[in-house]
Each structure stands twice: as structure tokens, then as C-alpha cells.
């Protein structure tokens, strides 16, 4: 359903991405990892049409990105940017309503199914209680959930998320990841998430794409991602591995030595 082949993105002289190829089936969950500056955000932005590609192809449903108008693309793919959204001058519910743009023409009226999409998004992300609040008054964890809710109200089969948990405390990280897992497992949304959390990536049922220096360093299933040599090559850092006492999963810890 998603097919990226030999993707190239340059910014003036600098190559941000080169020769990125991967494919993802409907309903799958891809985590994009890699060191800072590896091009993870650029990949999502190129897929959303925010930045232009300089070569290669991005296909959704076998159609190239260029075959979609921006409005058509927004009915297929939604995007949660890295920004927290706490600078936005809107009330939460109004911000979610704006997500229905792609489902409207300039003259069409607000419909019951638009309201239903907004209500569903508020409910699934557990943000109904903030609907009247201004975005500027939300905490980091609250606003991150609202940003996901806003993308969800767009009702797209594909969702791109750029580090949705980076600035959150452990409790809210778990909370936000639970929401994303629910979207993927219960609603069947295809998820591509950029993350620095390698243990989050290295789980059964996830696909992993590791980027380094704008190139694909490794891709494969999550359960075999956490491997000492691979992580060292990727992050220039030693890791030790422990077994989680309850779930039994392998956990990688950065070794300070």
C-alpha cells in the first residue's frame, strides 16, 4: 500500500535523504529510528508533500504522490508534526474541526459525520475534557494527545507521527503509545512513527527502518532489531541487554562505559 523507492531529498547543497526504499502493507506499524540528523523527519515531510523530493518515487495505493492533489492526499495520509501545538491560537475543538478541511469544498456545510469524526477523535485519545480549552493552556502531554486527535479527525487510513513522545514524562509516553497502538490495532490505521525509543521500536509486530546519514542502514521486523553490533553501528554507542522481569522482552540499555 505504501511503496517508497530510491527516494532522494536535497536541500540546496545538502543531501537529506538518498536512495531510501521500503514498502509497508496496510495496517502495519513502521518505526523509523536513527541518530539525530539522519533524515527521519525529512522522510515523513516528503511523504506528506511538505518538502519536495528530488528523485525516486513515493506511491500510495500504487499511485505516485504527484497524482494526488494536496486535498486528496490529506484524505489518505495525516501527519502529527514534532511541534507541540501549544503556540496555536485555537480552542481544542476548533482545531480538530479544522482537520475536516480535506473533506470539504469551499462552499460545503459542516455535516453530522464531520462532528462524529471530531467526537471519535476526542474519545479515542481521551481528550474530550479539554475540548473547550485553548491550545496555549495545555500541558505537554495534553497537547501531544490533542495533536494526535487532530490528525485522527482527518480520518485517514495512514498516519505519520514525528516523535510524538519525545518531550513527555514516562507516564504520558506510555499513554500516547497506548493511543497509537489502539489506532493501529483496533482501527487498522497504517502507522509510520519516528522515534528515538529503540525499545519501543524493537517489539514484535513492529517493522523497523533505521536511517543513518540520510540512507537506510537497516530494515526488518522489530523483534530482531535489538542487536549489539547493529545498534553500535547505528548510534556509535555500546548497549547492554537485559530481560524485562515481567514481560520477558529484551531491553537495550545504553552502556555508559
Amino acid at each position: 500500500m505504501i511503496e517508497v523507492s530510491e527516494l532522494q531529498v536535497r536541500l540546496q547543497e545538502k543531501t537529506l535523504l538518498s536512495d531510501i526504499s521500503f514498502s509497508l502493507d496496510a495496517g502495519h506499524y513502521l518505526v523509523v529510528v536513527g541518530p539525530n540528523g539522519a533524515g527521519k523527519s525529512s522522510l515523513l515531510k516528503a511523504m506528506m508533500g511538505i518538502i519536495d523530493k528530488d528523485g525516486g518515487e513515493i506511491l500510495f495505493h500504487d499511485q505516485p504522490l504527484s497524482a494526488y492533489s494536496q486535498r486528496e492526499l490529506a484524505r489518505l495520509v495525516s501527519y502529527v508534526p514534532q511541534s507541540s501545538g501549544r503556540e496555536l491560537p485555537f480552542a481544542v475543538e476548533d482545531f480538530l474541526k479544522m482537520s475536516r478541511y480535506a473533506h470539504h469544498s469551499a462552499l460545503s456545510e459542516w455535516q453530522p459525520d464531520d462532528q462524529a469524526a471530531v467526537e471519535d477523535a476526542l474519545r479515542i485519545t481521551n481528550t474530550s475534557q479539554f475540548r473547550q480549552r485553548q491550545m496555549t493552556t495545555l500541558s505537554g502531554g495534553e497537547s501531544q494527545r490533542v495533536m494526535i486527535a487532530a490528525a485522527l479527525a482527518q480520518q485517514t487510513p495512514i498516519m505519520l507521527l514525528d516523535e510524538p513522545t519525545s518531550y513527555l514524562d514516562p507516564h504520558h509516553q506510555v499513554e500516547v503509545h497506548r493511543v497509537i497502538a489502539r489506532l493501529n490495532e483496533q482501527l487498522g490505521i497504517t502507522v509510520i512513527e519516528v522515534s528515538h525509543d529503540i525499545n519501543h521500536a524493537g517489539q514484535k509486530g513492529r517493522q523497523v527502518l533505521a536511517l543513518a546519514d540520510g540512507q537506510a542502514a537497516w530494515q526488518g521486523p522489530g523483534e530482531i532489531f535489538l542487536e549489539k553490533g547493529r545498534l553500535h553501528r547505528l548510534y556509535q554507542q555500546d548497549f547492554v541487554f537485559v530481560t524485562h522481569p515481567i514481560s520477558g522482552r529484551t531491553i537495550a540499555l545504553a552502556d555508559p562505559l
Binding site: L11, Q12, K45, M48, G49, I50, S69, Q70, R71, E72, L73, A74, R75, V77, S78, Y79, P81, S83, L88, P89, F90, D94, F95, M98, S99, Y101, A102, H104, A106, A151, Q154
Partner: protein, 320 residues
């Protein structure tokens, strides 16, 4: 209070300004015929013209503030009005006398100058990957200076009569008489307002930033070019007819946002109405302050606008 109640109140206030302004300073004229003449042939067209020009300036300011997510970014601060002024001054200086699609040479010159300025300012601010509002505003300041010196240059080369005319016109004045200017400006401002109303949802999303707007489905580049063209046309026409009247486009939309909120479905009509009323008020003040002589209205709006700009600057620094 609901948005529609606020809008109704704003409309009523503007309507009363519109109805009262023509009578201000008319009390001491005894001759009924002269009174009639002043009222219908001078005051009424001037008041209506002030409304249309004020509405146009305020709407263009609103669009820029939304597009650049900053109340300090307006056609005036970004050098667009200076570009338009230079375009207009140049056509006067060169004595060009062409017309296209019913627009006269001065309007066309102002439109091209406005478009050149915004293309330049926007192009410069996009040279860096990380778009910053500081770069944009400083580029606007530099562009203003640049066009101001070009205007001085044309003025220097002009004869004394043209030079004085350019100077008075640069102060921004509404001393028109008859309905001709009004009929020239009205269709352009109405057309621009129509485009902005048509793009209300896009403007709402642009306020959330380009990335969010694009991901929600807005063809941001196309919308932005359309808005650049529209505001250049509108600012160009206003500048051509009454000179650069500063800060209306900064103060009015910002005050309207404080009153009625950021949703453009309400903000556009509020800005249009209040912008019109505000310029009538300033023009009435300009007529009365040193009566029987009058000030160029641009002096009044800039005297109000300067402190307002500083207030916005201090406030945004404090909250940042």
C-alpha cells in the same frame, strides 16, 4: 457574548461613525446650499472612500498576519506599501500614461511595485531552511528603506511641483472629492474581500503553520501566491489613490482578534467593518485637529500605530 452579537455591535458602531462623520465640523457654515454641496459632493464620498480604503488596508493586514503567524507582519511593515509607493511615484515621474484592464498607470505601477516588494521579501526570508519571523521583518525594514531612497531619488530628479505632490501624497491623505476615486477603488477592494472570504478556511489553517496546513490538505503554495496577488492589487490600488496609510493593517485586525477571536469566518467581516470605521474616525480627526486646515490622515494613523507596534513587540517578547 456570541460572535454574531459582537459583529452586530461592531457594525452598529461603524454605521453610526459612517453617518455622523460627514457632519463633523459642518456646524459653522450658515449657507444651506454650500452646506449641501460640501455634504454630498465632498464629505459623503470622502467618508465612503475612507471606509473602503480602511477596510481594504485592514483586510490585507489580516491576511499577512495570518500567513506569517505574527501581528507585526503586515504589508506596511514588510515593505509592500513602500514598493507600491515607489511604483506609483515612478509612473508619475516618468509621466507614463498607459492603462490596462481599466487600471490607470499609477495603479498599475503601484501594483507591480507591491508585487516586486513582497516577492523580494518573501524570497529572501526563504533562503534559509529555518524560516524565521525576524529575518522576514528585518528584510521588510531593509526593503522599506531601499524603496524610500528610490522615492527620494525620483523626487530629487522631479521638478518642484511634482516633488511637492509626491511628498504630500506620501503622507497619505484622503482629500478626494467626487465619487470617481470611490468607484475606482470599490471593485478592487470588493474583489479582494471576496477572495479572502472564499479562502477563510485556508487562512485559518495557515495560522497553524505551513506544515499543519499542508498536512490538512491546503495547497499552501498556490493559496499563498493567490493571496500575494490579491493583497498586492488591493494595497497597490489604495496606495495609488491615497498614498501609504500606515498601521491600519496592523492595529485593526489585531484588535478584532482580541474582540472576536481567530476564526476567519468571523474575523474577516469584523476586520472589514472595523477597518472601514477606524479610517473614517482617523480621517475625521485629521480634518478637525487643525481646522480649518487638515492633516494627512497617514500622520494620525502612524502616530497611533507606532506606539501600538511597540506595545505588540514588548508583549510578544514578554510572553516568549
Amino acid at each position: 457574548m456570541t460572535e454574531s452579537a459582537k459583529l452586530t455591535l461592531l457594525s452598529l458602531a461603524t454605521l453610526s461613525i459612517l453617518l455622523l462623520a460627514p457632519f463633523a465640523g459642518l456646524g459653522d457654515i450658515a449657507d444651506a446650499a454650500i452646506r449641501q454641496h460640501i455634504l454630498y459632493d465632498i464629505r459623503l464620498p470622502r467618508t465612503l472612500f475612507a471606509f473602503v480604503a480602511g477596510a481594504g488596508l485592514a483586510l490585507c493586514g489580516m491576511v499577512f498576519q495570518a500567513m506569517f503567524h505574527n501581528p507585526l507582519a503586515t504589508p506596511f511593515t514588510l515593505g509592500v506599501a513602500s514598493g507600491a509607493s515607489f511604483g506609483a511615484a515612478l509612473t508619475v515621474f516618468l509621466g507614463l500614461n498607459v492603462s490596462l484592464l481599466g487600471f490607470d498607470a499609477v495603479t498599475l505601477g503601484a501594483f507591480i511595485g507591491a508585487l516586486a516588494a513582497i516577492s523580494f521579501v518573501y524570497g529572501i526570508s526563504r533562503l534559509h531552511y529555518s524560516f524565521s519571523i525576524e529575518t522576514l521583518l528585518l528584510t521588510g525594514v531593509a526593503t522599506s528603506f531601499f524603496f524610500s531612497s528610490l522615492i527620494l531619488f525620483t523626487q530629487y530628479l522631479s521638478n518642484i511641483n511634482d516633488s511637492f505632490r509626491i511628498l504630500r501624497w506620501l503622507m497619505g491623505g484622503l482629500s478626494i472629492s467626487g465619487y470617481q476615486s470611490l468607484l475606482q477603488l470599490l471593485p478592487i477592494v470588493a474583489f479582494s474581500a471576496g477572495i479572502m472570504i472564499w479562502l477563510g478556511r485556508e487562512l485559518n489553517l495557515l495560522m497553524a503553520g505551513d506544515e499543519i496546513a499542508i498536512s490538512r490538505g491546503v495547497a499552501v503554495k498556490r493559496v499563498r501566491y493567490l493571496l500575494f496577488l490579491t493583497t498586492s492589487l488591493c494595497v497597490g490600488a489604495i496606495v495609488a489613490l491615497c498614498g501609504p496609510i500606515g498601521f491600519v493593517g496592523m492595529m485593526v485586525p489585531h484588535i478584532c482578534r482580541l474582540i472576536i477571536g481567530t476564526d476567519h469566518r468571523w474575523l474577516i467581516p469584523a476586520t472589514l467593518i472595523f477597518g472601514g470605521g477606524f479610517l473614517i474616525l482617523c480621517d475625521t480627526l485629521a480634518r478637525l485637529v487643525i481646522a480649518p486646515a487638515e492633516l494627512p490622515v497617514g500622520i494620525i494613523t502612524t502616530l497611533l500605530g507606532g506606539p501600538f507596534f511597540l506595545w505588540l513587540l514588548v508583549r510578544s517578547r514578554r510572553s516568549a
